[in-house]
Symmetry: C2
Subunit: 160 residues, 2 copies
Amino acid sequence: MVDVDEIDKKILVELRKNGRITFTELSKKLGLSVASIKNRVDKLERLGAIKGYSALVEPAFLDEYLQTLIELELLADDPQAERALQEIGKLENVLGIYRKTGEFQIMIRANFRNMDELKSFLRFLSQRYLRKNLRRWRVAIILDVIKDNGVQISKGSQRR
Amino acid sequence: MVDVDEIDKKILVELRKNGRITFTELSKKLGLSVASIKNRVDKLERLGAIKGYSALVEPAFLDEYLQTLIELELLADDPQAERALQEIGKLENVLGIYRKTGEFQIMIRANFRNMDELKSFLRFLSQRYLRKNLRRWRVAIILDVIKDNGVQISKGSQRR
DNA sequence: GCTGAAATTCTGGAGTG
DNA sequence: CACTCCAGAATTTCAGC
């Protein structure tokens, strides 16, 4: 990775741990002026090293009582499916979509208000988007989140 | 969820999409004064609705060329293992740890610089932490991230 | 590239209806 | 709850090194 030095990497590590840290704090931690920190963060965003920022929201507060990991086995990687996944990614309750190795090539992380919503999502997936391509799926329920996106979640946080 | 109304939920949704949005911008989007937005965000953090903030970092910029999903099958949920998972969560390259249903009860999302680092992490898991408890694991390589933590990632971003 | 300093914008508290 | 007010911080821009 050209254009990115050790200080930049430290900035990335800090921002992954705390996405709302101020440039002022960063400048104290790393011993650079605020202006330099800003220049570097701007550069990192421009280079695509930082894709965005996100708050880690406890799903229950959005009435998302069901956290799931859904794996999909597709028959082929056609561009159709690729586009379908982009579309699915626009849904607010879909937190992550990953292409991966293994029996199931796609992993979706999605939250739902209840079983009915999950069921209609699965119906939606097969009917609307991945009609011929989707061979089977597997759903796991997330029982507890210990760490998420680089942020350690306090124990027993799933209580309501 | 008592204490959380529709406006609060909109705030959570916005912050999940953009964790660094200013209160001023939020106030424009939602038609409330800046002070009210701040009061609400403070409340949401206090209530634990917001667990933290994170930047989405393209792993290659941290020399993390190997993105993985590691599943663990544990023999029992003893408190030992619970503590071990907390410890593992302190590692910077471990982005997520989830307890879940299914054959494998734990899913870890972790990034590595190379195969050797992955191998020593797996050795570490079984030797150091989960000695008697760990029955087996399964590793999948993440090939592409389409959406992550509520933030859509531009297509073909995994190129290098 | 980094810096300090000025201009602008945002945040955090106190207080009001 | 939501609002205004305002002091103090943080951010942004820029000239100079």
